[in-house]
């Protein structure tokens, strides 16, 4: 196709949109590494803001990792069997369950958090521990795990595979672990990546659920945006981006379309 003037108009527009999305990321990366942002890059590069963030907020980083990992483990253990059940069963109950499990995607995090506080806020040991945030994160991310595995299960004929295995004498659990799970591996992996990224970046729920001793990274970020100088906030954002970008790249790599053979 000949590339006329419309091509270049649209290309320019697309580049402007990309710049709008990417420029602030680069700005915050450079701001986090410059000595004095108001003077500019000529004030020199430094790691001192990053080190300062580490000394101030490293506990939030560890807590975020802990919560993200435990959430992921729970999601795999609960979500994969659940997706299998939903893929195999077509009853009113399973449809209702599907609806209930998807609902946390549609309900804003604040509403879920308020609900959790209204029911369990009184149990102070639970309220003060990181488990309270964990529960919120599991509820919020589980639907993504279930949907991701379900999508794979619905694209293959699991019934046929299972019947084959059953006719060879495989028991139910053998079939589950040796036929079902290996076949939906891609769904599980993309669900894991999604859970990790979502949990690490979750703010709406976490801000309501956190206590001064249970702060996650996004909560610390909001805290630093409100009270710290721009370089510190930027360095903190830089650390956060450093944590989630590998996950995003992995997810993109996983979702890339297989190239058609020539």
């Amino acid at each position: 196709m000949k590339k006329g003037v419309y091509f270049y108009l649209q290309l320019t527009f697309t580049l402007v949109v990309c710049a709008f999305l990417i420029v602030p990321i680069f700005m915050s990366i450079t701001a986090g590494l410059t000595n004095n942002y108001f003077i500019g890059i000529k004030s020199g590069f430094t790691f001192r803001w990053v080190i300062q963030v580490w000394s101030l907020y490293s506990d939030t980083i560890w807590l975020t990792m802990k919560i993200a990992l435990v959430t992921t483990v729970i999601n795999v253990c609960v979500g994969v069997p659940c997706a299998y059940y939903l893929a195999r069963t077509r009853t009113k109950f399973s449809a209702f369950l599907d609806e209930c499990l998807t609902l946390p995607i549609a309900i804003p995090g604040m509403a879920i958090a308020l609900g959790l506080i209204s029911v369990y806020g009184g149990i102070s040991d639970f309220r003060m521990s990181w488990l309270f945030i964990l529960v919120g994160h599991v509820i919020f991310t589980l639907p993504f795990m279930v949907k991701s595995v379900l999508a794979v299960l619905q694209s293959i004929n699991i019934r046929l595979l299972e019947e084959g295995a059953a006719s060879l004498g495989a028991s139910f659990w053998q079939r589950f672990f040796h036929v079902i799970v290996p076949n939906c591996k891609t769904g599980i992996v993309s669900g894991i990546l999604m859970t990790l990224t979502l949990s690490a970046g979750e703010f709406n729920l976490t801000w309501m659920l956190h206590t001064p001793i249970t702060k996650t990274l996004p909560v610390g970020l909001a805290d630093s945006y409100a009270s710290m100088r721009l370089e510190v906030s930027s360095a903190y954002t830089l650390i956060f981006l450093g944590m989630i970008l590998p996950l995003l790249v992995a997810a993109q790599w996983l979702n890339r379309k297989p190239k058609p053979r020539a």
Binding site: K3, Y6, Q10, L11, F13, T14, L15, V17, C18, F20, L21, V23, P24, I25, M27, Y37, V78, P81, C82, Y84, Y85, R88, L97, C100, T102, L103, P104, I105, A106, I107, P108, G109, M110, A111, I112, L114, G115, L116, S118, V119, G136, V138, I139, L142, K147, E163, A166, F172, F176, G201, F203, N204, W207, M208, P218, L221, A222, Y225, L248, Q252
Partner: protein
């Protein structure tokens, strides 16, 4: 049992079905989690919003100006953001599916990365772009000698909401545009239709389901976006901020519950529309 009998039984699914009971074991953890930590809290919220304040919470939303104004301005802002992102994303999405050029995968990757940035970070990006020391301020200073500071007003919210909406809509439009039947466009062109006629009569109608679904997801996300508004601390009270203030400053749990249920109902409705149009429900972030 002979081989033949066994075979018949397998064909009838009998051997197979016998173990179906074990399926229920698989679902129990999910049911417990969902009930104890989601359905129960939601019911409690509904109960509180209906019984406390002499059951007037929902009436207050409609009659007290602070709540009504917050609800209406959030609806309006989300509508404008949705419309703007649909237009931008349609142009970008169609361009990226129609043409092949060097560096296109990089552009697509750049467009999809911001999809999972949390609202607080996006708020910070808006400050970087349009805050007191931001890019726009420098630009304004250089061009007209006046710092353009948009971040802490409604335009800051608009920029932030646009930031997390564009990637979502672009990806959906690209998905829909890839399924477009180019034979139709060729046919239209050979019949003498010009560029705009092709767009209006063939491309846009084909994209409509995708646009409706991604538009409603975008609208729902904008309605519930808390992090961005929280970081920017604007003078505009969007609904999530109103809920937060009711809960923390006024300690008015019933009002916060009623408002968040209204918000939840609106976003649920949007995602239901999106699902009817066959879209995935990526209602996260903000």
């Amino acid at each position: 049992m002979s081989y033949k009998e066994l075979n018949v039984k397998i064909l009838c699914g009998e051997v197979y079905m016998k173990q179906n009971r074990q399926h229920y074991l698989l679902i129990i953890p999910a049911v417990i989690l969902c009930f104890v930590f989601f359905l129960l809290p939601m019911m409690k919220l509904l109960w509180l919003s209906l019984t406390e304040q002499q059951g007037m919470s929902y009436w207050y939303i409609l009659t007290k100006p602070i709540y009504l104004r917050s609800l209406l301005s959030t609806l309006l802002l989300s509508l404008v953001v949705t419309a703007a992102s649909l237009i931008i994303a349609t142009v970008v999405g169609l361009f990226l599916t129609r043409y092949e050029f060097k560096g296109k995968p990089v552009l697509v990757a750049m467009l999809s990365f911001p999809l999972v940035f949390p609202g607080v970070v996006i708020g910070f990006f808006v400050i970087m772009l349009a805050g007191r020391q931001g890019l726009f301020a420098e630009l304004g200073l250089a061009l007209v000698g006046d710092r353009w500071t948009l971040a802490y007003s409604i335009s800051g919210l608009f920029i932030g909401y646009l930031y997390f909406s564009i990637p979502r809509v672009v990806l959906t439009v690209m998905g829909a545009a890839e399924k477009l039947d180019y034979n139709l466009i060729e046919a239209g062109r050979s019949l003498g239709a010009n560029r705009w006629q092709l767009l209006r009569d063939i491309t846009l109608p084909a994209l409509t389901p995708g646009l409706i679904s991604s538009g409603s997801i975008c609208f729902a996300t904008s309605m519930g976006a808390f992090g961005t508004a929280f970081t920017l601390a604007t003078n505009l009270n969007v609904l999530p901020m109103t809920i937060y203030t009711e809960f923390t400053l006024n300690a008015n749990f019933a009002m916060a519950a009623a408002l968040s249920l209204i918000l939840g109902f609106i976003t649920w409705l949007c995602l239901a529309i999106a699902r009817r149009q066959g879209g995935s429900s990526l209602g996260m972030g903000g």
